[in-house]
């Protein structure tokens, strides 16, 4: 199996976010990046498939501060190759990032084996232009399924059965021909823990490859007119009166929230 995991790091919202001077982007000096949860699950799913059926796992990530940490961790968890893609410009839209991934994957010949999976997190909190997985599928002209929480390989190796999550616990099983792009929502098992000592050992013995990719033709689909912080000091709105009237007010609130 040829398992390719594509990562774009996301801003870490545990840290205070700071906007740049004209309030149209995050201040690149202040922002700290981390691996999104769904991307972590995408790697885990790839590792589980490799453990079950053999093959290689290649993690391809876009350059960002702290991307090395994430890639070393991936190698320590059992990925075979880690590649860092550098673009001449930061702050690209998701569609352009997908184009960058696609051009490198093609030029590196990574898509040639028939039994190829491209896995990436099914969604990320900075997907303002939409999700990476479907853009990637379109750029590579491959079939795509998103919100996947289970992958089972067919005996022939030509198709794969995936579980897609709908809502309220309902799921559906689809069959997809390979090669395919899968947007992973959750791996079959939660991402594994890798001890720090193993990561440090890999940092001594392993290697992160680096590659430059050209700037895609259309870096962004749109620019925000402005960014701003929502009113952080939200204050509780008191509902007062006898229980009957409070119940009426609450029903109104529930109606406003679309629950009734």
């Amino acid at each position: 199996m040829n398992l390719i995991v594509c990562w774009k790091l996301v801003p870490d919202t545990v840290e205070e976010l700071v906007l740049d001077a004209d309030a149209r982007a995050l201040d690149p000096e202040a922002v700290r990046y981390k691996l999104g949860d769904a991307d972590d699950h995408a790697l885990e799913q790839a590792l589980l498939l490799k453990e079950k059926h053999g093959g290689t796992v290649t993690v391809v990530a876009l350059e960002a501060p702290e991307v090395d940490d994430a890639l070393w961790t991936a190698l320590a968890k059992g990925a075979d190759r880690a590649v860092k893609l550098t673009l001449p410009q930061l702050d690209l839209g998701t569609a352009a990032l997908a184009a960058a991934f696609a051009s490198w994957l093609r030029s590196a010949g990574l898509l040639e084996p028939a039994e190829t999976f491209v896995l990436t997190g099914s969604q990320a909190m900075d997907d303002l232009e939409g999700e990476l997985a479907p853009y990637l599928a379109e750029a590579l002209h491959l079939p795509f399924v998103g919100v996947v929480s289970g992958v089972a390989r067919d005996e022939t190796g030509r198709t794969v059965r995936v579980i897609k999550e709908f809502a309220g616990g309902l799921r559906g099983e689809f069959e997809v021909p390979l090669p395919a792009v899968l947007g992973i929502q959750a791996a079959e098992r939660p991402p594994r823990y890798v001890p720090v000592a193993r990561v440090r050992a890999v940092m001594k013995s392993g290697r992160i490859e680096a590659a430059d990719v050209p700037l895609p033709a259309r870096p962004r689909q749109w620019q925000p007119a402005r960014l701003y912080f929502p009113d952080a000091t939200r204050r509780v709105q008191w509902l007062e009166g006898p229980p009957d009237s409070v119940a009426d007010q609450l029903v109104e609130v529930l109606v406003q929230r679309g629950l009734l």
Binding site: S122, P134, F229, Q237
Partner: protein, 323 residues
Amino acid sequence: MLKPVLVLAESLRGEIPDLTFEVLGAGRYLADVMGVPLYALLLGRQAAPLADRLSLADEIVVMDNPQWDPPGEQASAAALLQVRRQTEAGLILLAGSNLTLGVGAVLAARTDLPLVNFCRAARVEEDSLVLTCQWCAGKVFAEVRLSGAQGIVVLMPGAFPPRTDHQPRSAKVTPLAVPGDTPPLTFHRYLDPEPGAVDIAKQPVLVGVGRGLQDRSNLPLAEQLAAALGGAVCGSRPVIDQGWLALSRLVGKSGMTVRPRVYLALGISGAPEHWEGMQNSEYIIAVNTDPRAPIFNSAHYGVVGDALELLPRLLEKVQARKR
């Protein structure tokens, strides 16, 4: 001259999911402001009988395909593309649901339309559409201007009020042939959630109960309220400890982290170990006898009072509203 609005209506197992009516409502509003027609595309297996539920739209295009149960993302996008060509729609509205996730991106890749995700509010200014989107899990908001009101917009669940009403005049229903170039994605079967097992992390509404509920015999009231609201009951540590609820219903430390659309906290003081599990709920309504209970620091709506007095009245009114 502004172009028409097109919404994608989902169908799943012969039902139209609730989120579709939010998208439909938003589409109706924008189409009215812009003075353009509203089209709805209904996809799925045996979807045709559902069309009349969408008659808030001016015209409903139905693609009924036995293999689409439900369609894949790329198939939906191909269908939208075909309808867009025929209707010359400029603005396409999609639900931010698991079913539709990815459809917008495929469509954006196949057209030159810009895609705007996580939209929480929309207004029309002259010939532009001005959208408010959340970014980074709601920590930052972005204001986006789509000139000519052209683009693909994915709406945040719960951001727009759903509309299930009808137009005074009946909508036109047009059946359409299925596009031929769909990728060979085969649907096999549905997997139902295990009966009894409730994943509280996936509930749109949670009724959280704490020690303020006083006695186990009061729990069924909370359960009925949760059921009426389409959600489930969960609890804080003391309630779980007393064995009122299974451990899988624990919110907070040692339990689950939940982000429902509405979290109704009944008799929960909001100790940090509970709070950390539910702080990111979209809306928090807290009922507690102590006005200084920490739960009120993170609540949107607060009621100072006895949850037990409120609960039966609220249940009655909610059930009355549902009927």
